[in-house]
C-alpha cells in the first residue's frame, strides 16, 4: 500500500496536475481576442494594469466593492490558504528553523512556526466554513451551485482538518516529512511517514491536485487571463489634447 500511495501515485499526480494545468492555460492562450474588451475606468499603462491585477488578486477589490460579507469569507480563506501553503514549503524545507534567519533561537523559531501555522489553519477552517455555510444556506446560492462547488469545499475542508489533526493530536515531525518529500523530489523515494493522519492528509491533497485541472479551481490561473481582457491598458488611435 505505502508503495502505491507513497511512491507511485505522487509522481502520477504531479505530472497530471502540472500537465493538465499548463494544457488548459495553453488552450486559453491559443484562442484569439478579436476586440478590445476594456471595462472602464481602466489603467492607462501596463504598470497600472499590473498594479490593478495585484490589487485584485491580493485584495479581492471587486468583491469588496459589492459584497463585504463574501469578501471577508473569500479573502480569509484565500489568504490563509496562501499562508498555509507558504508555511508548508518554508516550514518543511527549513524544518521549522526559518525564523532563525531573523535572529531567533531554534526553539523560538519552531514555536513561532507552530503558532503561526495553527492560527493560519484555524483561519483557513473558518474561511471554509463561512463559504460552505453561505453556499448551503442561501436559496440563490443553492440555485447556482453544482455538486463540484460543494465537493471542492469539502475536499479542502478535509485537507485542513486532517492537517490540524496532525498538528494537535498526531505530531508528525517536520524532519520526517522533509526526508520523505526530499526523497520524492530527488527521485530516490523512501517510505512515507508511518502515520495514518499524514496519509489521509497527503492522499486528499493528491485527489485535489488531480481534480484541479478539470474543475473551477482553474480560476487560480484563469483569473489572470480573464482580468487581463478587461483591464489591459487601452491605447487610443489618436490621443486628443
Amino acid at each position: 500500500m505505502s508503495v502505491l500511495f507513497g511512491w507511485v501515485l505522487p509522481y502520477i499526480v504531479i505530472i497530471l496536475f502540472l500537465g493538465g494545468m499548463i494544457h488548459r492555460m495553453l488552450m486559453w492562450a491559443h484562442v484569439p481576442v478579436p476586440f478590445k474588451l476594456t471595462v472602464f475606468p481602466s489603467p492607462k499603462t501596463t504598470g497600472g494594469a499590473v498594479a490593478d491585477l495585484v490589487k485584485e488578486t491580493v485584495g479581492f477589490r471587486s468583491l469588496w466593492r459589492g459584497n463585504k460579507g463574501l469578501w471577508f469569507g473569500a479573502w480569509l480563506f484565500h489568504i490563509s490558504l496562501a499562508m498555509v501553503i507558504i508555511g508548508h514549503a518554508v516550514g518543511i524545507y527549513y524544518s521549522g528553523h526559518h525564523f532563525m534567519m531573523f535572529g531567533s533561537t531554534a526553539e523560538q523559531s519552531e514555536h513561532l512556526s507552530v503558532v503561526i501555522g495553527t492560527y493560519a489553519g484555524i483561519a483557513l477552517l473558518l474561511g471554509l466554513l463561512i463559504l460552505l455555510i453561505r453556499r448551503a444556506s442561501s436559496p440563490q446560492l443553492r440555485f447556482i451551485s453544482n455538486f463540484s462547488d460543494y465537493l471542492v469545499l469539502l475536499l479542502i475542508l478535509g485537507i485542513a482538518m486532517s492537517g490540524m489533526y496532525m498538528r494537535w493530536f498526531a505530531d508528525v515531525p517536520y524532519s520526517v516529512v522533509r526526508s520523505y518529500l526530499a526523497g520524492l523530489l530527488t527521485l530516490r523515494p523512501i517510505a512515507p511517514p508511518d502515520n495514518s493522519a499524514f496519509m489521509v492528509h497527503f492522499t486528499l491533497v493528491q485527489l485535489l491536485l488531480l481534480y484541479f485541472p478539470y474543475s473551477k479551481l482553474m480560476h487560480a490561473c484563469g483569473l489572470f487571463f480573464s482580468r487581463w481582457l478587461i483591464t489591459r491598458p487601452h491605447e487610443r488611435q489618436v490621443i486628443l489634447k
Binding site: 484562442v31 481576442v33 440563490q140 447556482i144 465537493l151 478539470y214 487571463f225 480573464s226 478587461i230
Partner: protein, 447 residues
C-alpha cells in the same frame, strides 16, 4: 415552444438581409453545438468565462435584471450557466463523470428556448464585470449567444427590422434620403425662426472638417438635441457635414450579429474617407460609441482620421473659448445617467460631467453612479413594445436611483436610454423629464 416568444421572432423572409436561414426546430440543438464549438475557437472571452467562474454569486445582487425581475435565471452566473452546462457536457476537458459534477447537461430544444428568453433579458450593460472577481463580462457571453441564435435563424423581429432598414437606407429608422433632406430643410427653417441666424445643416459636403454622425432618432423624436449640435458647430465656426450614406451612429449589429456590426462600421469609415474629413464625430448613442471607440481599429485598421465623441469635440471648443454657456438657462435640478456604453464601455464619464457643470446650475449625482451606474433597462436593443413588462422591471433599479435625487431633469445622452427612460420613469412614477446632453448644451449656448 407553442406560446409566443417574447421578444417576437423575426420571420424567415426578414432574415435574408442578414444572410442567415432558419434552422428547423428539431435540428437546432445539433447546429447550436457546432456553432458553439466554432465560437470557442475565436472568442477567448467566451471560453475563459465558461471555464473560470466559481459560482460565488457576487454578480447576482449587482445585476439590475435580476434585481428588477427576481427571476433566478437572470443572475449573471445563472444566465451564463445555461451555456456553461452545455459547454461542460460537450467541450470541457476531463472524464464525463468529472464534467457531470460541474453541472454538465445535454442540449435540447428547451435549452435553446431558455437561451432565447434569457439572453434577451440581459442588457449587455457589463455592470457584473465590475463586481466579478474574475472580471467575467456577461455581455460578451450574451453577445456570443445572440449571435449563435441568429445563425439558427432566431433573431428578434425588432432587430431584424432594424438591420433591414440599415441596409436599405443607412439608418435604423429606415428613413429614405428624400425624407431626411426634407426633415433637414425643415430644421434649418426652425433654426432660423428660433435664432434669426442662417444655421446650415450640410449633407455630403466634401472637405468638411467634421463628419457628424447622429442617431437617426435625432431626426425623428430628439430633434432639439440635433438642432443644438448644429448651433454648436455654427458658433464654433467648424465646417461640418452629415453623410447621405449613413445617418446612424447606433450599431445594432453589436448586440447580436458581428457581420452586421462590421459592415456598419466600415460604411461610416468609408463615408469619412470619401468626404475627406479630418474627424468623425459620433452623436449621442451609447453602444454605437463603444463600437466606434473600441472596435473600429480591429475592423478597419489604422484610419486617416480619429473618431471622437461629440462631448470630446465640445470640450475642445469650450477649453479653447470658442463657445460659451450661460448656465442660468438650465436652472432645474439635473442629474446624469451614465449610459453603460459611455461609462463602462467607452471611457466617457468625466467629459459629460465637465460639460454639465459648465451648462447647468444645479447638478446632482445619482447613487450609484459612473461605472457603478445601473442600466436604463433598454440596453442591447431591448426596446420592443412586446417586452414592455420586462423592460419596466429591468429599469426599476435605475428608476429608484433617479427618484432618490429628486431631480427635475434626467440627462441621458444615448438614444436607447432616451427611448426607454421616459417610459420607465412614468411607469415607476418618478416625476422627471428625460433630455439629452445636447439639448441642455443647446439651451445654454450663447450664440
Amino acid at each position: 415552444m407553442s406560446e409566443v416568444r417574447i421578444p417576437y421572432e423575426a420571420k424567415e423572409k426578414d432574415l435574408k438581409v442578414m444572410h442567415v436561414g432558419a434552422v428547423p426546430a428539431e435540428e437546432r440543438p445539433k447546429a447550436a453545438l457546432e456553432l458553439l464549438g466554432e465560437m470557442l475557437k475565436y472568442k477567448r472571452s467566451l471560453k475563459l468565462y465558461l471555464d473560470v467562474c466559481t459560482h460565488c454569486g457576487a454578480c447576482a445582487e449587482q445585476c439590475h435584471s435580476y434585481l428588477g425581475t427576481k427571476d433566478p435565471y437572470n443572475m449573471p452566473v445563472a444566465r451564463v450557466e445555461l451555456v456553461r452546462r452545455v459547454y461542460k457536457k460537450f467541450f470541457a476537458p476531463g472524464r464525463s463523470f468529472l464534467r457531470a459534477w460541474e453541472g454538465a447537461k445535454d442540449i435540447d430544444q428547451e435549452t435553446i428556448d431558455l437561451w432565447y428568453k434569457y439572453f434577451y433579458q440581459c442588457n449587455q450593460c457589463r455592470r457584473c464585470a465590475i463586481f466579478c472577481p474574475k472580471g467575467i463580462d456577461t455581455a460578451e457571453v450574451t453577445i456570443a449567444m445572440r449571435e449563435l441564435l441568429a445563425h439558427l435563424g432566431l433573431v428578434t423581429k425588432f432587430h431584424a427590422g432594424i438591420v433591414k432598414n440599415m441596409k436599405t437606407t443607412g439608418n435604423n429608422m429606415g428613413t429614405p434620403l428624400p425624407a431626411i433632406l426634407d426633415g433637414i430643410e425643415f430644421l434649418e427653417e426652425e433654426l432660423k425662426e428660433e435664432t434669426g441666424l442662417d444655421i446650415k445643416i450640410p449633407v455630403d459636403m466634401e472637405g468638411a472638417e467634421v463628419l457628424f454622425n447622429p442617431s437617426s432618432s435625432d431626426l425623428f423624436t430628439n430633434t432639439d438635441g440635433f438642432m443644438s449640435v448644429a448651433k454648436i458647430f455654427h458658433k464654433a465656426g467648424v465646417s461640418w457635414t452629415l453623410s447621405s450614406r449613413i445617418a446612424e451612429t447606433a450599431n445594432f449589429g453589436l448586440f447580436f450579429h458581428e457581420p452586421t456590426m462590421r459592415e456598419h462600421n466600415m460604411k461610416l469609415m468609408n463615408a469619412g474617407k470619401d468626404l475627406g474629413v479630418k474627424r468623425i464625430v459620433a452623436g449621442e448613442c451609447g453602444h454605437g460609441w463603444r463600437t466606434w471607440r473600441m472596435f473600429t481599429d480591429t475592423i478597419n485598421g489604422p484610419l486617416p482620421f480619429p473618431v471622437v465623441h461629440l462631448f470630446e469635440e465640445v470640450l475642445d471648443y469650450m477649453r479653447d473659448g470658442r463657445i460659451q454657456f450661460d448656465k442660468t438657462r438650465n436652472p432645474e435640478l439635473i442629474t446624469y445617467h451614465d449610459p453603460c456604453n459611455y461609462g463602462r464601455g467607452g471611457d466617457l464619464m468625466d467629459q459629460p460631467r465637465e460639460i454639465l457643470r459648465a451648462c447647468v446650475q444645479n447638478f446632482v449625482e445619482t447613487t450609484p453612479t459612473k461605472e457603478y451606474s445601473y442600466c436604463c433597462g433598454g440596453g442591447s436593443g431591448i426596446l420592443m413594445d412586446e417586452a414592455m413588462e420586462i423592460r419596466m422591471a429591468l429599469g426599476q433599479p435605475k428608476a429608484e436611483s433617479v427618484r432618490a435625487t429628486g431631480a427635475e431633469i434626467l440627462c441621458a445622452p444615448c438614444a436607447i436610454c432616451k427611448a426607454q427612460l421616459p417610459v420607465v420613469m412614468n411607469h415607476h412614477k418618478v416625476d422627471v423629464k428625460v433630455k439629452g446632453l445636447s439639448d441642455l448644451m443647446g439651451r445654454a449656448l450663447i450664440l
